[in-house]
Amino acid sequence: MKVKKKSWYLTIGGILTACMLAFTATGLFWTPYSPTAMSAPDRNAPPSAAHPFGCDQLGRDVLSRTLEGAGSTLTIALAVLVVGAVCGLVIGALCGYYGGVADALIMRLCDAVAAFPSVLLALVVLALTGPGKYNVIGALGVLFIPSFARLVRGEFLKYRDRDFVQSARLMGVSQLRIIFIHILPNIWPVLLSGLTIGFNNAVLAEASMSYLGIGVNATEPSLGYMLKDAQGVLFTLPWCTIFPALAAILLILGVGLLGEGIRERMGGTAA
């Protein structure tokens, strides 16, 4: 075992993520103003005590909109992760544990899907289904399955012939119990770090799609949608771009560092 060195990735990533989650969670329940309320006198107002993030060209409070946008971005990213990770976990676990022809076929299919950038594929799907929150979640979720399936499959390949698994078979433990109760707990750390990468990819993919105008609707703006909305006033009202962008960057940075910290910790304790 290596000597464990103090990991600041985990600490800083954890704190940053916690702050951003708190910020986002707030936005789900409370915003200082209504994110859609337009106030004529406040049009184009720079940041002030009453509006810390300023107002946009319609007089809407940018802080309120950033809070709501972050909430929207977070829920979409988490939903994409749930779809991708749960399906990927089950597929990867069964493929890795059983192997065989079905495994080869499914992995070939995953390779084919993974060969295209997922944003591009999602754009194609959304061009067919039309924009909207649930379509984005569905399209990105499905496209995230291959990477999780691959990750989980690799881990199961590593474990399926270990002595403790053989020993469980000899005792008569059922195959499904071996897969999900005996092997799965061993791969949580790897999965967790995969989830942090997946989360960031989901945030970025959603933002790019909304930015390209094919993601969420104006009724449920995400951070990416706000950035697109502020494009025309980038230089005249920079606060309309800076604050949503900052929120997205800090969220991604926090989760990224957290994942790096988990990987580092794993490297230190793995046998």
């Binding site: 403790f164 020993s167 000899l170 005792m171 707990p185 061993n186 949580w188 046998a271």
Partner: protein, 241 residues
């Protein structure tokens, strides 16, 4: 003599398929009587573990006779780090065989595990630990307990002490001998170390290249080895001492 617990006659086994199919065991015959300890010695790659896997039903590409007259024979592996689930506690690892055997009541499982601990020289405080928090010797005791707690009478031990240092080896061998008497077990004991085999086994089979070249009582083989390969093994082990 009563009915053998393991009866193997002219057993052949293969690994791989098609062009890569490779024969490992060749015409292996042996018998293990209830309450007996049969040692299998031979160099690395001679097919000892393969023989063990055949007895446990883990190798299916075989021809010949293979009768195992004991339900759920269990195995104790060489590396007690790999044979214990690193993500679980000792308590869980020892309860799992009982859970699998259908002991539904949690309290009863716990009690049976606690009752078993003194038999293998473990303490209750070990139950909450994970394998990584135990010494090599303690891990092997846990592995032995896990193999025995379902009540199996036939235990295959594949180099169970090779990963331990000499003092620990002696302790574990004594433990195995005691357990055998107390619980009426039969062992198929695999080792490359003749000295270890001599301490525990009643009879020994000498393997090389997938064949058993000599078989008999331990003392007989030690004092009057007939096959050249056995003589070589003996000379090598004496040179080490």
């Amino acid at each position: 003599m009563s009915e053998p617990i393991v009866h193997i006659a002219r057993l052949n086994s293969w690994y791989g398929r098609g062009k890569g199919r490779k024969q490992v065991l060749r015409d292996v015959s042996l018998k293990l009587a209830p309450g007996e300890v049969l040692g299998v010695v031979g160099e690395s790659g001679s097919g000892k573990s393969t023989l063990a896997k055949c007895v446990l039903g883990m190798v299916t590409d075989i021809t010949g006779t293979l009768e195992v007259n004991s339900p759920r024979p269990q195995m104790v592996f060489q590396d007690p780090y790999g044979s214990l689930n690193p993500a679980k506690t000792v308590g869980w690892i020892l309860e799992e065989p009982l859970r699998t055997a259908g002991v539904k009541d949690k309290g009863e499982r716990r009690q049976r595990v606690r009752d078993f601990l003194p038999l293998v020289g473990l303490e209750e405080e070990h139950l909450a630990r994970r394998p990584a928090q135990l010494s090599g010797g303690q891990r092997q005791r846990v592995a032995i307990a896990a193999a025995l707690i379902q009540g199996s009478r036939l235990i295959v031990l594949d180099e169970p002490v090779s990963a331990l240092d000499v003092t620990l080896q002696a302790q574990i061998l004594r433990l195995l001998a005691d357990l055998k008497e107390e619980l009426g077990l039969s062992y198929l004991f695999i080792s490359h170390d003749l000295a270890v085999v001599y301490q525990l086994c009643d009879r020994v089979a000498v393997m090389t290249g997938g064949e058993i070249v000599e078989e008999g009582d331990v003392d007989e083989i030690y004092d009057h080895p007939r096959h050249a390969y056995t003589k070589k093994l003996l000379a090598a082990s004496l040179a080490l001492d």
